[in-house]
């Protein structure tokens, strides 16, 4: 039951997030990102029973990868575009990822 209750809470926070996203169109956050911020705030203030949220969040996040597999398969429609620019994409991915990593690493060592 806890998992169901927790899932209801997640959906409630998502709905609240959608409302906020519509009320504040100048802030570039989506409904689910607002929901994430609101959930964090509610947990920090002790307004929610953490164990119920955990009972839903843990199994839900365990399957996280599965939910965007279908979106990835959609890349089939862009195979030609990617093939035409394969070297640029490969270089940007490799160098971009390593520089992002090193920038984060360097800044996180600074105190």
């Amino acid at each position: 039951m806890n998992a169901l209750l927790g899932f209801a809470w997640l959906l409630t926070f998502y709905a609240l997030g959608e409302v906020l996203a519509r009320l504040l169109p100048t802030v570039p956050l989506s409904g689910s990102l607002w929901g994430m911020v609101l959930l964090y705030a509610a947990l920090s203030k002790g307004l929610l029973d953490e164990s119920k949220v955990e009972a839903a969040a843990r199994p839900l996040l365990r399957g996280l990868g599965l939910y965007f597999v279908p979106v990835g398969v959609g890349v089939l429609a862009y195979a030609d575009l990617l093939r035409a620019h394969a070297p640029a994409v490969a270089a940007a991915l490799l160098l971009g990822t390593l520089l992002t990593l090193l920038a984060a690493l360097g800044a996180a060592r600074w105190r």
């Binding site: 997640l10 609101l38 964090y40 597999v69 390593l98 992002t100 690493l105």
Partner: protein
Amino acid sequence: MALIATLLIYLAAWKAQRRWPHPLTNPVGLAVAALVLLVATTGYPLERYRYETLPLVWLLKPAVVALGWVAWRERGRLAGRLRPFLAGLAAGTLTSLIFTPLLARWLGAPPELQKALAIKSVTSAVAVDLAPRLGVNAELAVPLIILAGILGAMLGPWIMDRARAHDPLARGTALGTASHGIGTARAAEEGPLALAASGAAMAAAGLVTALLAPPVFALLGLSGG
């Protein structure tokens, strides 16, 4: 059909990952590759595949909300180290947003690809959610995001060793900021502090990207479209 095939193939890929744990056997990457092959060879209409798998994709919405719980759960371990964590998060996210599209542009890639590459370090869950707002093509971005995750998880620890960075907080922050969930799985092998920093960085990088991408795209002339 499409839904069941996706589920079964993902489960098989997940089993493969448990058997041979390595960034290259990432279940999402394996499943996407297998399904792309399957759809391409059987001629199953892509439109129909998309439609039939929509319920799965919808689960991303509560899952992104649940990332708030991840960040909250890890906040205790990051206490007192918040400044370096936030500095790393901001520096990494900005570097990805600015440098990646510029490099792609310099190498001749069109704006559509530049934008998809700009958000390569954010978790796919957030990317799918944000893509329409940013004018980014999610179907183009997700495979690039998976590849960025695999690259960071494979090469990241080696490069960080070369840079003589041994602080678990810095290493975790870097892995989570550059390589989202796949980097976080790798950070888990480095211990609880690296895992906490990486998980929190993955959740927070989604937020920071959402806030910073619009002004950065405007600056780079990538807005609209």
